[in-house]
Assembly symmetry: C2
Homo-oligomer: 135 residues x 2
Amino acid sequence: MKTDSAGLQVLTHEECLALLASVPVGRIVFTDRALPAVQPVNFVLDRGTVVIRTAAASRLASAVRNTVVAFEVDQFDARMRAGWSVTMVGHAHVVLDGHEIERLALLPLTPWVPEGKDQFIVLRPENIAGRRIAP
Amino acid sequence: MKTDSAGLQVLTHEECLALLASVPVGRIVFTDRALPAVQPVNFVLDRGTVVIRTAAASRLASAVRNTVVAFEVDQFDARMRAGWSVTMVGHAHVVLDGHEIERLALLPLTPWVPEGKDQFIVLRPENIAGRRIAP
């Protein structure tokens, strides 16, 4: 088992993907008008990509179009002082292809707030890393 | 009760601060070699600032020195499709003053991984905003 310089366990690529698939909400990290920004979103994994739904006019949709973003999921237990986090970095793009939109619409991805979230954004991980703090 | 364009409840400044104080772990969002980066950290609130501890040689310490970062906390219940998030944006700085370091060392802020986390970083919120999704 590998540990990093901070003493955290380094998760394997397979562990990262399994943990990423185990939670319904992650946080997308981007730049908004030159400032760091972060927004929680529900998502699903599809063919190795992270898929989210948003409104076409949202701050998120404008900010992440064709840019590099980070996406983070984690789970911590404060009492045990234990937990894990997985972060991927990659390009985000808005899905414009009609057939692909039809396919993505069949995924189990329902917006929690159903206000015209008709735009799919796909994040393709170019880098994925995870750490675990064991109790 | 105010809602935003996405249909989410807008939290007041007081609600944001109360929720920020209610959780032990948040996520610091910064730029690392021109890429968006995010790292979970345990923290405490002190005199209106977010205080974290890290190792002086850490990626985090190098990246957030005297720069603008975001800091996010949230709590979601996937079954209820409900939850909240609070994000602050502000300047981060490493505490160098000896008396201030002594004072911060008395805060209830123990590193979860005790590997030479002798550097305090303070985030002073210049902007704070929160949203809630009611079930």
